[in-house]
């Protein structure tokens, strides 16, 4: 399964969806294990998606059937489940609201880095995914969210119609910890009153075009 296939499905599902949201939630325990959840919420565009799902192509891309989408999601689940250290991998797709979720537990935060790599067979793309996206050093109690994978070139190659889908899309990251947060590096991130959670919200287009960053260094009190 090539990464492009997932990307294409994503493009198709988000085509004409003026609004969608990606929510990334990570809970990290003291020992570095925890839970990861990724949600793609297209619910705000569901009436358009219902119409698109009845079409054969949109913006020049083939529209997959419900079954094809289910199959792809099942493949994602299988690929993620193969990743060492990850357990209780579960995916879901709500076709009434067009909300997709991926949920799993991890022994170490670093194990999440292998997810993207496992979803691609293309060597060139694999090379792109060797970069770390998540890191946690239990010794220093520092959690890192990195973003070394540049999508700027991919974005520039897109047609204007495809580009438009990112204009009003949002990205939300929520990180929760057993330990108390003492500092965050990203100035747009907020720390909860209990200092056990951090939230960061950005416009997807700003992230893709690297105008805004989702990177964050979260320092915890030991």
């Amino acid at each position: 399964m090539k990464k492009q296939h997932y990307f294409l499905i994503f493009i198709i599902l988000t085509s004409f969806s003026s609004c969608f949201e990606i929510v990334e939630q990570i809970f990290v325990k003291k020992d570095g294990s925890g839970n990861f959840q990724l949600t793609v919420n297209l619910s705000k565009s569901k009436t358009k998606l219902n119409s698109i799902m009845k079409m054969k192509t949109v913006n020049g891309h083939d529209v997959p059937s419900e079954q094809e989408i289910k199959n792809k999601i099942a493949e994602v689940e299988k690929a993620v489940a193969k990743t060492p250290g990850l357990s209780a991998v579960k995916t879901s797709m709500d076709f009434d609201n067009y909300i997709m979720t991926l949920n799993c537990n991890f022994n170490k935060v670093n194990q999440l880095n292998a997810i993207a790599k496992n979803l691609t067979q293309n060597e060139k793309d694999k090379a792109r995914f060797v970069e770390k996206s998540y890191d946690f050093d239990a010794a220093t109690s520092i959690f890192m969210r990195l973003n070394k994978i540049s999508l700027k070139k991919d974005y520039n190659k897109m047609s204007n119609a495809d580009k438009e889908i990112f204009a009003t899309a949002n990205y939300t990251a929520i990180y929760k910890f057993e330990n108390t947060v003492s500092a965050v590096s990203n100035t747009t991130a907020n720390i909860s009153p209990s200092k056990k959670a951090v939230m960061l919200q950005q416009n997807v287009l700003d992230v893709i075009t690297e105008k805004k960053s989702i990177e964050n260094k979260i320092t915890l009190i030991k």
Binding site: V23, T47, S51, N97, I99, N156, K176, A197, V198, D206
Partner: protein, 687 residues
């Protein structure tokens, strides 16, 4: 995409070739299949040449598109834009040519422009009475002291290699018998071949080595060399093949394949050369006729005179039949071997087709496009008349509400239309490759089809009266799932509501087979459950209900009553029909629909207002806002009058524009500026 359309439209309006109006029309051949006239008045009065220089898009996009120096002022191009100019399409000498004729006001400036733009690549040749420059393999510019002619031409009779190969069995057999050792050499006889496509010299086969082709003066030696080199490399692959037996699944080019490929490449090179020579010959021929020869002009042809209005600011004349045939040929020529069996493109049919014209007027407050279609052939003319012999039912007016966004009404004689199709199918098939040889058989088959098909039955089912109305685009509330977060960022899914556009439309058609239509409407009831459709009988009508939270339309209603089949999203339409009531169409709409075979109207302001609310980007919002302010209603009518099919389309304009041509230029400029701003904004993001 929008931009490309705008540039293309601009080229159409702008590419005013100048020339003495009368003399240039006299140079348009009677055999042209399309003729476009641009009146000099457009640029002497409507949008003066000086004003044109102030439009950014004219230089930035238009001149750049035409590969002309963008710093050149439109006034200094040497072209007299204030005189009428012409463009025409002609198929002659197996070449399909698009010709532009312009009058020059300053030949020296024009030559300077041409030299500056193209002379680095091409030479100027002195011909009898004019100068000629090839600016590409298929585009030629010719000029004298008063006129310039641009010919863009494509040779259509390129021969297929496979056609040559499989129809020259002896030659092919010889070639393949000699490929045992696969070492070959090619002798190109390109010059000779260029004289006649069929005289292709197949490669000479050498047993023990590959020789480079013999070089001939004037032949594209670079290309031949390239082919030879490439082939040698391929041969190396063949030699290495025995050492990789285990990788036998990998395809390796054999000697036969190599020779075959070389033959084909050479053949294609030859065909390209022939095409180039033929194209230049066709272009020179057209220019010689324009500058020094006598042309049997289209100006005195009845098919042209009758439908072209001399005062139009832009007029487009089409010989639809010839154009269709050329269109077929254009695509067929790429299919190997087909063209050989086709009739020459300029051969006239025994039955003359329709001629059509659009006469465009850039008036002060509107753009008017008058269309006329007629045939000089009595049979075709009578068929056209029969098809248009129909009147829209007055009861259709009951479905047009006041304040609608737009409607389209059509009234044609279905029976006559079906009969017209038989003639069209016969003509189409007799011009189709291979099938054309059996036109008598086709004729019999179509006649048989005519016997089997019940035209009257079809006409009873659908007599030809149709109406589509976009009543409105209402907003409806739809629910969606969103997440809210508490102070500790725990997420909770919540149902929120938002407004979305929902089209409100009706489609109505007349029928004399009401019982059959009733059966058709009832049919889904039986299968609704199985197909998971919410299709129910509501007593007199049927409702296909959709989950209102999932689809932009909540219900689609189906009804058959009083000789009408109705499909609508509008419950009022159903209620009115049951109560034998209807909407009250205004007098203008009533006259337009009842007095014409085709009538359509779009309330542009309302349409752009609605589209603006759906536009997701600021660029689209700005364009919608501009169009809403500047574009007026669009209205079209068409009927049979004075022995021909005549129609008129009126596009009203709003805003501060001197006339509709200036409105057009202003619109293109504004839309371009909006796109430029968006690009600049996008660049800022990416940088």
């Amino acid at each position: 995409m929008m931009k490309q359309i705008i540039v293309a439209l601009s080229v159409l309006v702008f590419s005013t070739t100048t020339s003495n109006a009368q003399s240039l029309l006299s140079k348009v051949p009677a055999s042209a299949t399309m003729v476009i006239k641009y009146a000099g008045e457009n640029f002497s009065k409507n949008v003066p040449v000086q004003k044109m220089d102030t439009y950014k898009f004219v230089r930035k996009d238009l001149l750049s598109f035409m590969h002309i120096d963008t710093l050149t002022s439109v006034q200094n191009m040497g072209i007299n834009l204030e005189q009428d100019s012409y463009q025409y399409v002609i198929a002659v000498d197996s070449s399909f040519s698009f010709v532009t004729m312009m009058q020059l006001k300053n030949p020296a400036q024009f030559v300077q422009l041409i030299k500056a733009s193209y002379s680095s690549k091409s030479k100027i040749e002195q011909k009898n009475g004019f100068e000629l420059m090839a600016i590409s393999e298929n585009t030629y510019v010719g000029w004298n002291a008063s006129t310039a002619v641009i010919v863009n031409t494509t040779y259509q009779n390129k021969m297929s290699y496979y056609d040559y190969k499989y129809r020259n069995d002896t030659a092919v057999a010889t070639t393949y018998a000699a490929t045992v050792d696969s070492a070959v050499s090619v002798v190109t006889e390109a010059t000779a071949a260029a004289e006649d496509a069929v005289k292709f010299t197949p490669p000479t086969i050498y047993k023990d080595g590959y020789k480079t082709p013999k070089k001939k003066k004037g032949v594209t030696k670079g290309k031949s060399k390239g082919v030879a080199k490439k082939s040698v490399k391929k041969k190396k692959v063949v030699e290495e093949a025995p050492y990789v037996i285990e990788e036998a699944t990998t395809y390796t080019m054999s000697g036969e394949d190599s020779l075959e490929q070389r033959n084909r490449e050479l053949w294609e090179q030859q065909q390209d050369m022939i095409a180039k020579q033929k194209q230049q010959a066709a272009a020179e021929n057209i220019m010689a006729n324009t500058f020094t020869g006598n042309v049997k002009s289209i100006e005195s042809e009845i098919g042209y005179k009758k439908i072209i209005e001399p005062n139009a600011h832009v007029s487009v004349w089409l010989n639809s039949e010839d154009l269709l045939r050329q269109y077929q040929n254009y695509f067929s020529r790429n299919i190997y071997g087909l063209l050989k069996y086709m009739k020459p493109t300029n051969e006239k049919e025994t039955v003359i087709g329709f001629n059509s014209a659009i006469n465009v007027y850039f008036e002060k407050d509107k753009m008017r496009m008058d269309q006329k279609t007629f045939s000089t052939d009595a049979e075709m003319e009578s068929m056209g008349k029969a098809v248009m012999n129909s009147k829209q039912s007055p009861s259709m007016l009951n479905y047009i509400n006041a304040g609608n966004i737009g409607y389209f009404s059509a009234s044609i004689n279905t029976e006559a239309m079906v009969n017209y199709y038989y003639t069209t199918v016969k003509k189409y098939l007799s011009n189709t490759p291979y099938v054309g040889e059996y036109s008598d058989v086709v004729d019999v088959y179509v006649d048989l089809l005519q016997i089997m098909i019940d035209e009257k039955g079809i006409a009873d089912l659908t007599p030809g009266n149709y109406l589509f109305v976009m009543h409105d685009m209402k907003t409806k509330q739809v629910e969606y799932t969103d997440y809210v977060y508490d102070k500790e960022y725990n997420s909770t899914p919540v149902q929120k509501k938002k407004k979305e556009l929902s089209p409100n439309f009706s489609f109505v058609m007349d029928t004399r087979k009401e019982a059959f239509m009733q059966k058709l409407a009832k049919l889904p009831l039986k299968y609704a459950k199985k197909e998971r459709l919410n299709y129910t009988d509501k007593g007199g009508y049927y409702e296909l209900a959709f989950d209102s939270t999932k689809y932009p339309v909540s219900s689609l209603y189906f009804m058959v009553k009083d000789g009408k089949g109705i499909v609508t999203t509008n419950k009022d339409v159903i209620t009115n029909t049951i109560a034998n009531k209807g909407f009250m169409a205004d007098e203008e709409t009533k006259n337009s629909i009842l007095n014409n075979n085709y009538a359509a109207k779009v309330d542009s302001k309302k349409l752009f207002e609605i589209l603006g609310t759906e536009a997701s980007t600021s660029t689209n919002k700005k364009i919608c806002a501009y169009m809403q302010e500047n574009m007026g209603d669009i209205k079209t009518e068409m009927s049979y009058k004075d022995g021909m099919i005549q129609g008129s389309t009126i596009l009203k304009i709003n805003g501060k524009h001197t006339n509709s041509l200036e409105w057009f230029f202003n619109m293109v400029e504004t839309v371009n500026n909006i796109y430029d701003e968006a690009r600049a904004e996008d660049a800022k993001r990416v940088d």
